[in-house]
Amino acid sequence: MEEKNKKPKGKILSWLDERYDLSGLLEFAKKKSVPKFRETIWYYFGGVALLLFVVQVISGILLLMYYKGTEDLAFESVHFISTKVSFGWLIRSVHSWSANLMVLSVFIHMFSVYFLKGFRKPRELTWYTGFGLLAISMAFGFSGYLLPWNELAFFATKVGTDIVGQVPLIGEPALKLLRGGTDVTGATLSRFFGFHVAIFPGIFVILLTLHLLMIQRQGIAEPEDYQKLPDDEKKTIPFFPNFAMRELLIWLIVINILAILAVFFPWELGNKADPFSSAPVGIKPEWYFLFMFQVFKFLPGEILFLPGELVGVLLFGIGVLLWAIVPVWDKKTARGNKNRLLTYVGIFVIIFIIVFTILGFILD
């Protein structure tokens, strides 16, 4: 009788089951659940980032059909896509907007995991792979930004790579490696193109697979307050179909937002990059780099006998590193105690980012 219950219904499923024995998989899918409590909404953002990554892959492959990654042709080919190719403007606009929304949802996902302490034992590796995915998402953004070879992208790349060059010891060789020479030229464009369409997607897919496998293996993290509840008060949502359906609904909303943004606010192309023209007044990077950009504007030329940019690079580097290794230094949460400091640090970081982002927008 029990044996019979496990058998999948439907022709295709039973055909597959006969050959591959799906009972384990189906059992797993049946048991999979998500904790239900006040903060359940945050569990959707990883899935949103995943959806947007898929949108990026599809729209990116479509752009590849017309894009030409050389100094002479890059700008012209993007112009061609935007003006001549049917729906080219839409595909490009979707790719740009989806990139921004993806970075945004990756950030929301990261902060929600941080505040709900989803990174603690035994999920440290899920956090580290997630952090790697965040870093590559930003690297995707930075490299993709240069590909249209317009004025803004040219100077953003000059500044961004120059900041890398400030890092002690490895800065100089890293700068040359990124730029493909000492200056930002067509060689830089070729390299960024390669990073953007081959190297980053490869690493991203490997990390993403590990990230998702670990989540499936361990189940979804329960926050501290939820864990302390008596078992009969722990409410859960079955993953299939309840949670999956809700996630699908959110995906539908996200796709609609993306469509509205892409159609009504088509991404601009600007002017072609000219290595022999001045940086335009009011130049700004993408919003997710804006807070760093603004901090660099405020740093004086010299701090304690060190160049201001170097101090900025070092401080940012240390901050990011500390954030990345939070499972190592957060001993309190690991012991099962509330770590308020962690929450305050998180709130401080969010306020810091928001304030400097706003300053970046309103100040000249």
Partner: protein, 155 residues
């Protein structure tokens, strides 16, 4: 991990195994090195022979308006040439010493300005305000037979 029994009964065997492990491990690292070295070397861009430019002619004296600036190509480097209100010419490297953006002449400030991070330099190339850590490199300007030439000053 090691089986205690075999370790006690035959210490010589363990040593031999360790030795083999070191040999194999070292061999593997050397092999990896031989594999990665060409890759890293490949990624390092070769030094391209640059055409040495020592001076650039930029036209007649009256080609540029007074109180204006422009970027010229000096070999593969951008150089900013400014004609002051007085009519004198000056020239500096146009690469901001802060983070490598290209500067411009701002009439309203009467200064050299970098739009990336609000760096300002005076008309001697010295930092006037903002984040730049060092002055702009100066270029020489010579006027001969009504023709303006920018040249690299001996450092």
């Amino acid at each position: 991990m090691m089986n205690n029994h075999s370790e006690n009964s035959n210490p010589g065997k363990t040593k031999r195994r360790d030795f083999l492990n070191i040999l194999l491990g070292g061999g593997f690292i050397a092999w990896l090195g031989a594999l990665l070295y060409p890759v890293f070397k490949y990624l390092e861009p070769p030094e391209v022979e640059e055409v040495k430019v020592s001076n650039v002619k930029i036209g007649a004296v009256e080609d540029m308006q007074k109180d204006s600036g422009k970027i010229i190509k000096f070999g593969n480097k951008p150089v900013i040439v400014i004609r002051k209100k007085s009519g004198d010419y000056i020239a500096f490297s146009a690469e901001c010493t802060h983070l490598d953006c290209i500067v411009q002449y701002r009439k309203d400030y009467g200064q050299i300005y970098c739009a990336c991070h609000n760096g300002r330099y005076d008309l001697n190339g010295r930092v006037a305000s903002g984040p730049p850590p060092a002055p702009l490199k100066k270029y020489g300007v010579a006027i001969k037979n009504d023709e303006v030439t920018v040249f690299e000053e001996a450092s």
